[in-house]
Amino acid sequence: MFESGIVLSIIGAVIAVFLAGIGSGFGVYMTGSKAAGVLAEKPDLFGKLLVITALPGSQGVYGLLIGILTLSKIGLFSGGAEVTLNAGYQILWAGILMGLAGLFSGVLQGRVAAAGIGAVGKDGSVAGKAIVLSVIIETYAIFGLLVALLVVNSIQL
């Protein structure tokens, strides 16, 4: 399994989608359940809460992006290209990088956003600030995405 470049690349893609997806899943789980609680009291806040709830969802999208990009890079959609073992390992690392960055930042962003939802529940006018606080964590998912993107895109197969 670890002697085939193409298999390693696919593992990389899977890890990126999988771990980042878990991160987002947990994040949105935390925000979503908190938002549902607040909604019971204040249904008018739905629009604002929806935005904050969706914020930790972006890590999953970034993971998906790296996954698709990897599959496209190794030519899986167009019949499959030769991937050297070396290139396979590089892509695997890019996937691990994206996956871990997405996993941790997703979960933690979920916590911050959930706390923000609590604040919005008390005072609807702080929604903008709650969004900004939660977006600060996302920076690190974006850095992960950025480097993974550069690695996947610039590797010579």
Binding site: V51, V61, Y62, K129, V132, I142, L146, L150
Partner: protein, 674 residues
């Protein structure tokens, strides 16, 4: 432009003019009346309680009638943001003509609401009773408290279905003085009556217990039905339920008729709310038997015209004078920008309104936000959707100024995204092979690098040097914004008169950052001499070392502090890196769109018939792109905003101002046409 200069004023006058003055102030919304209720004993009159109660009643009636409104009227009101568009005269006339009827309609709505709830509860109660009695439909005896006679005793109840066989064997085998009548069988078990002779009651009772027999007790729910057959009682229930349902339907039909008054109620609600604010304001000021006086904030430039108007309207019996704010009194903030720029005010407000020493950043963040948003969304298709939808509402709808500004922001963002899409070649995530030929660059040949596939495309972010170029562009824009931020800080401090700080901090940093940019660029740009730039950078750093320690009291610590101050350069580096998100988000839109198209293609080729394939492809594409549009829109907005709030505002803006809230007519339901 920007922050409007406000003036605190004191208005005093004879009580006789109070009502008319307040009416005019309320209409014009020029003043924010300061709460000085400490001078007042604050007595609330019964009349006021009545006003608040009435308003709550109207609100209640509107909330009750709203669900009965037809979908069509709701759709119609979308173009006015859910408001009633009319002239002020018309609204006034309607309030006048409706006012007399309103009491009856409010009462009718309240009664209907109460009756509907009552009917609903009764129907539920009957349905529950019916369900309970249903197994006894074929029960031949009447409902009684207990079924004992002089010589026999009966049990009525149920056992689980598995016990049926045992029941027959055990009981009928016992003696011929036992009679068993099974009158209902269901999923849950069987219902039956057992009658036994007095002599064997204890044994039969014990056997029933062993069979886990549950005796039914009619006295719980049906004590008023003793002597009647269950069938008759059920029939009566059914009749009663049908009657209730009919009554409810009739009442609902009547409620639907009441919906015609909904708009009148809404107008009345606004008018009553205004009445309440006008009434409440008197507790915020000083009022004596003959005089009134209040403090207020108003835009300075309106002061002259306002005092002239007061002089003319009240023959000099109401006076106004400029006064100084009290100690520790916070001046409210009113921000006013040109149209277009004003659309970006909500973004500033999302962070915080400018504080006392701040400049209004709206005009400066507007171009950056526009460009960042455009590059983040970067799809011609999505951009056009956003532009067209907001243009449709802008052109055909009637909205308040604030709502129009918000729509115009979306319109601008759509245009930004369209340009971003052209710049980066984003068209619903299509590749050059999928795109229609009129979008393609005529010089483009597949497989050859160097020429971008789409017309007008400058960077192909997925090919060759494209990603690095895009990243460079994002960082470059970031550097430009950071430099602007530092320069604005210089401007702000100069404006506030802190000349020394302005020159030592922001200006020195600006110089250093600019020199670093020049030094970095000197490798590529011919006319910049590398050695000169290097020297200048070192000089700038030297200036910072000299200035950053100026607040240290001990001489020896000054240069040390200066060196430490230079360490702040890392903050600028991390700020700059943050701008790479523009590139990441820009790529994300295109790649996810591409993935949606790909999924649609793969799924449709898997379908057994090409026609089904086309349908599946359309569904996947519509759903997928809607999702990508929503996510990318959210991401582009949130992250473009964040770059303003943290990286840009961090340089020069504190915020924390309190919004100027004029005494005016707040329109919850109405929108006045001129």
């Amino acid at each position: 432009m920007a922050k409007v200069e406000l003036q605190k004023v004191l208005v005093t006058g004879f009580r006789t003019h109070y009502k008319i003055l307040m009416q005019e102030l309320h209409r014009s919304g020029l003043l924010e009346i300061v709460d000085t209720s400490d001078f007042n004993d604050g007595e609330v009159e019964t009349e006021e309680h009545f006003g608040a109660y009435n308003l709550a009643r109207i609100d209640g009636a509107i909330a009750f009638l709203k669900p009965y409104e037809t979908v069509k009227t709701q759709a119609d009101s979308m173009l006015s943001g859910g408001k009633l568009v009319m002239s002020e005269a018309e609204a006034k006339a309607r309030v006048k003509s409706f006012g007399a009827k309103s009491a009856d309609i409010l009462q009718e709505a309240e009664e209907a609401k109460e009756s509907l709830v009552r009917y609903e509860n009764e129907v539920i109660k009957i349905q529950k009773k019916r369900a309970e009695l249903e197994p006894f439909r074929l029960f031949k005896m009447s409902i009684e408290k207990d079924y004992a006679t002089e010589t026999t005793k009966s049990w009525v109840g149920a056992v689980s279905k598995a016990q049926q066989k045992n029941l027959m064997q055990e009981l009928l085998g016992e003696s011929n003085l036992v009679d068993v009548d099974i009158f209902a069988e269901g999923e849950g078990g069987i219902c039956f009556r057992v009658t036994a002779d007095r002599s064997i009651v204890p044994t039969v009772g014990k056997k029933l217990e062993n069979l886990r027999f549950e005796e039914y007790d009619f006295s719980m729910e049906f004590s008023d039905c003793y002597g009647k057959k269950p069938r008759e009682v059920l029939y009566a229930f059914e009749k009663e339920e049908a009657e209730l349902l009919e009554k409810r339907a009739k009442l609902e039909a009547r409620v639907k008729e009441l919906v015609v008054h909904l708009d009148d109620l809404r107008i009345l609600c606004d008018y009553n709310a205004w009445g309440k604010t006008k009434n409440d304001i008197q507790h915020k000021m000083l009022k004596t038997k003959n005089l009134f006086a209040f403090e207020a904030w108003m835009p300075k430039k309106s002061f002259d015209s306002f005092s002239v108007w007061l002089q003319n309207a009240f023959v000099g019996e109401v006076s106004i004078e400029e006064i100084q704010p009290r100690e520790n009194e916070e001046e409210p903030v009113l921000v006013k920008n040109r149209r277009g720029i004003a659309s970006f005010e909500p973004i500033t407000e999302l962070f915080a309104l400018p504080g006392a020493k701040d400049i209004d950043p709206t005009a400066y963040l507007a171009p950056f936000f526009f460009v960042f948003f455009g590059l983040c969304l970067s799809d011609v298709g999505y951009g056009l959707v956003l532009t067209l939808v907001s243009a449709y509402f802008l052109l055909l709808g009637q909205f308040s100024r604030t709502a129009k500004d918000g729509l115009f922001l979306l319109f601008l963002c759509g245009i930004g995204a369209t340009f971003g899409g052209i710049f980066l070649g984003g068209y619903f995530g299509m590749t050059a092979a999928q795109a229609p030929s009129f979008l393609l660059n005529p010089d483009f040949v597949a497989g050859i690098e160097g020429v971008n596939p789409f017309r007008g495309q400058v960077i192909d972010p997925m090919v060759g040097q494209g990603p690095i170029l895009f990243l460079g562009l994002a960082m470059g824009l970031g550097m430009l914004q950071l430099l602007s931020g530092v320069f604005l800080d210089f401007y702000r401090q100069m404006k506030n008169g802190d000349y020394m700080d302005a020159i030592c901090d922001p200006l020195s940093w600006f110089f250093l950052l600019l020199m670093i940019v020049f030094y970095g660029a000197s490798g590529f740009v011919g006319f910049l001499d590398q050695e000169v730039c290097k020297m200048l950078t070192l000089i700038a750093a030297g200036i910072l070392v000299m200035t950053q320690g100026r607040k240290q009291k001990i001489w020896l610590l000054k240069p040390l502090s200066g060196l430490l101050g230079l360490y702040n350069i890392t903050g600028y580096v991390s700020d700059l890196l943050s701008y790479s998100r523009i590139m990441a988000l820009g790529l994300a839109t295109g790649v996810i769109g591409f993935a949606m198209n790909l999924t649609a293609g793969i799924l449709s080729s898997m379908m057994p018939h090409p026609a089904i394939g086309v349908v599946v492809a359309i569904i996947v594409i519509v759903f997928g792109h809607s999702l990508n549009f929503a996510l990318s829109l959210l991401g582009a907005f949130v992250h473009s905003g964040r770059l303003q709030f943290i990286e840009f505002f961090g340089k020069f803006y504190e915020g924390g101002g309190r919004k100027f809230k004029p005494f005016e007519r707040e329109k919850k339901y109405l929108f006045f046409q001129n």
